[in-house]
Each structure stands twice: as C-alpha cells, then as structure tokens.
C-alpha cells in the first residue's frame, strides 16, 4: 500500500490565508530537514574523517584537503578485514538460507493450514520475542560448547555452525510472513486444490511469487541481524577462523585507539554492504512493512 494519498488539505471551510499556509508548510519542511541532517550527520562525519590525515582529524577539519584513500587500504590490512569480511559474508548467507527456509514454511503453516496445536505453538513462538538474551545466552553458550548435550564434532566453539544455526529461525520473521500469507484469498487455494495441488506446490508456485515484498522484508531484517551480530560471535569465537566483521571491528577499535581516520575507514567498510542491500530492497521493504505491519 502506498501512503502517497495525502489528507485533503484545504478547500471548503478554511481560515488560513495562503501566506500562512506557505509559512506552515515551510515550517514542516524545516523540521523534516533538521531531522534528516541529524540522522545523516554521523554518517557524513564517518566518511569525511575516514578520508583525512591524522592531523586533520585532530584539528577538526570538516572535509579533508586531499582525500586520503590510502586509509581504507591501511585499515583493511591492519585489521585483517579480508578474513573477517569473507567470514561475515558466508555467515550471513548461511543464516539467511536457513532463516528463509524455516520461516516461509512455518509462516505458511500458521497462516493457511488448520492443524491441532497451532495456536499454542504460535503463541509460544511469539512469547520468545520477549525473552532477553541475558537469560538464554549462558545456556546457549554451554550448548554450543557441547557441555549439555554431545554435539557432532565435540564442540562448536569457533565453528561456522555456532554462528549460523541458532539464528536460522526467529519468531519475528514467522509472524511477519504469517500476517501476509493469511491475507491471500482462500479461493486461490480452493482452485489450486481442485487442480490436484498440495500445500508445498501451492506455496512454491503461487504463494511465494506474490509474496516478494514480505520476503524481502524478512531478508533485510535477517541480513542486518546476521551482519550486525556482535555479542554472540564475541562469545563463541576465540580464534579468527570464523570471527565476523563486527568482532573484528571491535578488536580494531581497541587497537587503533587514537587513529581516528583509520577507525572511521574501518567503520565505513563495515557498513557498505548494509547500505547496498538497504538501497536495493528498500522499496519492497516499505511495502512489506505497510502490508504486513501490525494491524493490517
């Protein structure tokens, strides 16, 4: 749904003069632009500082005299970002694959199939959204370490599985997809069933193609969740075999300390993939929020 249909503004009974109206409108734009500046400023600062010499960052120039692209090379090498970057990409891809698989299936089941125990299961899933990580973190760590139950391979510390498997399902994604799937007209399913279609084929051939927007929303949130994860990877990676970018950046922050320009270059590197995915998906993403959002 598009929000572009605005409230009919004037006509009929109106006391405001045209001049007053223009002033009012200008005021609104002023607020919007001020807000936008505040939101964007830290990003601007990040980029401008990442291109400065160390001296320029200390004397607080607004923009570098000569952009120091070398900072990016230096930060990349000093923080061994090649390793972390590749790790983060692989971890994110694996997590997203699993997440899409589990949440599309579960979202479909909760939205379109009547089965016993459905409501209990669904409310149980939703309840997990309220649980703080502080409670689950420690047992999960023991689980992954292989203390509670034996795991294939002994321990999962420093493995790919520790960083992906626990995030391959979450209540939020299932809820979002369920909301959308439940709105699909029943007639479609009736027609498909007469043609001998079962649930799986109906899901893959009919439901998924018309659900691009909510699936994109799940993808974007899943992507940011996996890419931005910090606390858990910090815990389960003790070597850099599978250590992701965020933990690498945190290490770099401790290490680079006062070298603001390199620090900022590192920060810019870590947000670029997120920015690309965001700008590519943002259209479907807003649609997804609007059509599945809350009280639809």
């Amino acid at each position: 749904m598009d929000n572009s249909v605005a409230i009919p503004n004037t006509k009929k009974i109106k006391k405001e003069t045209p001049a007053g109206k223009i002033l009012g409108k200008a005021f609104l734009y002023l607020i919007l632009i001020a807000g936008a500046l505040i939101f964007i400023f830290p990003f601007f600062w990040m980029i401008s500082n990442s291109l400065m010499t160390l001296g320029e960052t200390i004397t607080r120039k607004v923009w570098p005299a000569v952009p120091q692209w070398i900072n990016f090379v230096q930060a990349w090498e000093q923080a061994s970002f090649s390793k972390y970057f590749a790790n983060s990409v692989l971890i994110t891809l694996g997590t997203l694959t699993g997440l899409l698989f589990t949440s599309i299936l579960a979202g479909y089941a909760f939205g379109r199939i009547d089965f016993k125990g459905k409501n209990i299961l669904f409310s149980m899933f939703l309840a997990t959204m309220m649980i703080p990580e502080s409670v689950t973190l420690i047992p999960n760590y023991l689980l992954i370490r292989g203390t509670i139950i034996p795991l294939p391979g002994g321990t999962w510390i420093n493995t790919y599985w520790a960083l992906t498997v626990p995030f391959m399902a979450n209540a939020f994604s299932i809820f979002l997809l369920r909301q959308f799937f439940a709105q699909i007209p029943k007639e479609l399913w009736d027609a498909a069933r007469i043609d001998g279609c079962d649930h799986l084929r109906f899901l893959v051939q009919v439901v998924m193609p018309i659900s691009k927007a909510p699936i994109m929303t799940v993808l974007l949130f899943g992507f940011t969740g996996a890419w931005n994860a910090f606390q858990w990877p910090l815990l389960v990676t003790t070597r850099n075999t599978w250590r992701p970018l965020m933990v690498g950046l945190y290490g770099f922050i401790q290490e680079a300390g006062p070298q603001t320009n390199l620090l900022m270059a590192g920060a810019v590197i870590t947000i670029i993939p997120i920015l690309i995915v965001y700008f590519l998906t943002q259209k479907q993403f807003t649609q997804g929020i609007a059509t599945t959002g809350l009280k639809g």
Binding site: N3, A6, I7, P8, N9, I13, L32, G35, A36, F39, I40, P42, F43, W45, M46, I58, T102, L105, A106, Y108, A109, I113, D114, F115, M124, F125, T128, M130, P132, E133, S134, V135, T136, L137, I138, P139, N140, L142, I148, P166, M168, A171, D190, D198, H199, L200, T224, N228, F230, Q231, I253, T260, A267, T270, Y278, Q282, T286, A290, G293, K295
Partner: protein, 387 residues
C-alpha cells in the same frame, strides 16, 4: 462452498477427513524446522538457566546450593518479602483508587482516602524493602536496575514522540517523502558497533571534540561526555550525588545514541499505521472546521494508539535487551553509571566466570520484564483505542 456442502456424501466426508489428516501432518511438518531451532535455542535455555541458577556454577557445575545465588542479590528473603508486600499493597491501593473513580456512590470519598492511604503505605514499604536490599544485597545489581530504568525513560518516550511527529509530517503532502524516510531509517539498520564509534569520537572528552565545540558555541565549558560518571543534575549545579541525581552524563550520551538509532524504526511503523486511519474521519472533521492541531489531537492520537502501545512495548523490552552499543560506548571512567543489567550479567558470566550468579541475575531481570510488560498491558491496554 455452500453448494458443495449440500452434496457431501459419505464418500466426500471421508475425503474431507483425509484432507484434515493431511493438513495436520503438513502443518506439523512445516513448523518442525522452526520449532526445533526456536525450542533448542529460545525456550529450553530458560529452563536450563533456572536450573543453573541453583548451583554454585563457575565454568563447570559445582554443588547444589538452592537459592543462595538469589540471596546474594536480595540480601535476605525477608527483604524480598518486604519489597513484594510493598508492591502488592501499592497495586491494591491503585485498584481501590481506580474503583472509587468509576463508582459514583457515597462511599466514594472514603474509598479514595483508603486507596490513597494504602498507596502511600505500599510505596513506603517498597522503599523500605529496597533500602534493606541495598544494605545487605548486591549493590551492583540494584544499581544496574536503576541505570536500566534511566536508560528506558530517557529513550522510549523521546523515540515515540519524535517518531510520531516525523511520521505525521511525512504523511502530509510532502515532496521527497521517500528520501526522508530512507534517511530516517538508515541509523536503525546500520551496525551499532560502527555507528557507536562515530558517537565515541563526536562525544569525546577532548576540548576540540565536536560536542564540546558545539556547547562552546553557547559559552558552555567543555564536558567529559562519555567519560563523566557524575549525574547530570550534579553537573547542573544541584548538590545531589549517586544515582539519585539522575543518569550520568556518560549514560545521557548513550541515550542520545539510542534515540538516534531507533527513531527511524518508530517513524516507519507510525507511517504505516497512519495509512490505516480511514480518510473519511479526517474529512468529516475538516467539514466541522477543526484545526489541524485539533485533528492531530482528537483523531490521530487516539486512532494511532494501538501502534503507540506496540512501539512502547517493543521499546521497553528493547532497552532491557540493549547491549552492543552500550558495551562499545562505555568507558572505565564512567564506572558503573552506564552498566545496565544486561551488561552486568554479561560481565558476571564472561569476565568473572560466575555462571550461577549470572543466571540468577538474568532470571530476576526476566521476571522484572515480565512484570513490567503485564503492568504496561493492563494500564495502557485499557486506554488503547482499537478502531
């Protein structure tokens, strides 16, 4: 469907039965992968946490010690009893007070008085219990609860108000609406570790830092920002110390970051909520000659209340979960003035290796969140207007 129902024969009926069975199996099969992961990593750990909290567990499991880990928090069970009794009385007083407002009989004034008395009594007992706990219990944990509360009160209401205002303006006939929305949402999706680093530099204690130059413009002396453990009220010249003086300047800096990174999410959700308000209502109000402000106050705010409720719930739960940016932005010199409960639990576990103590603290945090959610549900849920 109607006509097909009339045609049901026994054969048809068995076909339906078969479909039902098929649905049952498919439903369970489809939910199984998600269930497996959510159960193992989301539900089982709660039970296991409770189990762990009953042991002297330091890296490896030690002997069973019952409620000892909880006693470390509360000091003694009687302290907890006093605190809970105070809370109970407070709730009772509130209930009587409210009932008195609803009924219009002669006993009303008396009930009001009784309600107020019980309310005050409950409050006093609660504070006494808190004081006792503070004497003998775990000060760090109780401090962290106050820090978390400051953080929640500093971020959630501001995020809601700013989010609603921005969404309401964007919902008007605005050129470049898309661009504004993209920009507003940006801080929410970018990694907090990366953006927190920028805030570190902007709010550094150096005289030349951007924040200090900014306040210098208004003639204010440089501040130490995220290195400053002193409460803001103290810095304003009031003679209060400790946590009674409000959040420390270091925490306020983190609150700034919290608001900055979360407002966009609220804006987007409010915007989609505004789209669901029927246009006819606005048109009718306009016919009646209500001003824009009237319409905002008497139509938008009540109609949007379910969204507001949802966002405040998510926001509050979020502040209790908040970890990454606080972990990155905290400084040793800010001491415990920025240590929220989720950080405290992490430190107990990760740095001190006291797994049993950490799980007990986490469980108490969880119970507090549950309680607050229920209260919020009760208080706000009644006022929410569901169309």
């Amino acid at each position: 469907m109607e006509s097909s129902k009339e045609l049901i024969s026994t054969k048809r009926r068995s076909a339906f039965k078969q479909q039902e069975l098929k649905d049952q199996i498919t439903g369970l099969l489809f939910t199984f992968p998600a269930l497996l992961i959510i159960f193992i990593f989301g539900i089982f750990p709660i039970g296991y946490s409770i189990y762990m909290s009953l042991f002297n567990w330091q890296v490896t499991k030690g002997p069973y010690i019952g409620g000892q880990n909880y006693l470390l928090i509360f000091g003694s069970w009687s302290n907890l009893l006093v605190l809970v009794a105070g809370l109970g009385l407070f709730a009772l007083g509130f209930f009587v007070w409210r009932k008195a407002f609803q009924t219009l009989n002669n006993g009303q004034r008396l009930a009001h008085l009784a309600g107020a008395l019980v309310l005050i009594l409950g409050g006093v007992i609660f504070v006494t219990g808190w004081g006792l706990m503070y004497e003998t219990g775990n000060k760090d944990f109780l401090n962290s609860l106050i820090v978390t509360l400051y953080y929640a009160l500093g971020t959630v209401p501001a995020e809601i108000i700013i989010g609603l205002v921005l969404a309401y303006i964007l919902y008007q006939d605005i050129i470049g609406k898309e661009v504004f929305r993209i920009i507003y949402f940006l801080p929410y999706i970018t990694p907090s570790i990366s953006t927190a680093v920028v805030f570190q530099i902007i709010f550094s204690s150096r005289e030349t830092s951007l924040a200090n130059q900014f306040i210098g413009f208004f003639g204010v002396d440089p501040l130490r920002w995220r290195f400053e453990p002193k409460p803001v009220l103290n810095l304003l010249g009031l003679n209060v110390s400790g946590l009674a003086g409000g959040p420390s300047l270091a925490l306020v800096t983190i609150i700034f970051f919290g608001i900055w990174s979360f407002v966009g999410y609220n804006t987007v959700i409010f915007l989609s909520g505004l789209g669901n308000i029927p246009k006819e209502i606005y048109e009718a109000a306009e016919m009646d000659g209500g001003s824009k402000w009237d319409r905002f106050l008497h139509i938008t705010i009540p109609m949007i209340s379910p969204v507001t409720f949802y966002l405040s719930l998510i926001g509050f739960i979020g502040t209790f979960k908040a970890f990454n940016h606080i972990y990155v932005m905290r400084t040793p010199s800010a001491q415990n003035s920025v240590v929220t409960t989720s950080l405290l639990v992490f430190d107990r576990f990760y740095k001190a290796n006291q797994y049993g103590v950490a799980t007990a603290q986490a469980i108490v945090l969880f119970i507090i969140i549950l309680g607050l959610t229920l209260v919020q549900n009760k208080l706000m849920g009644e006022r929410v207007f569901y169309g």
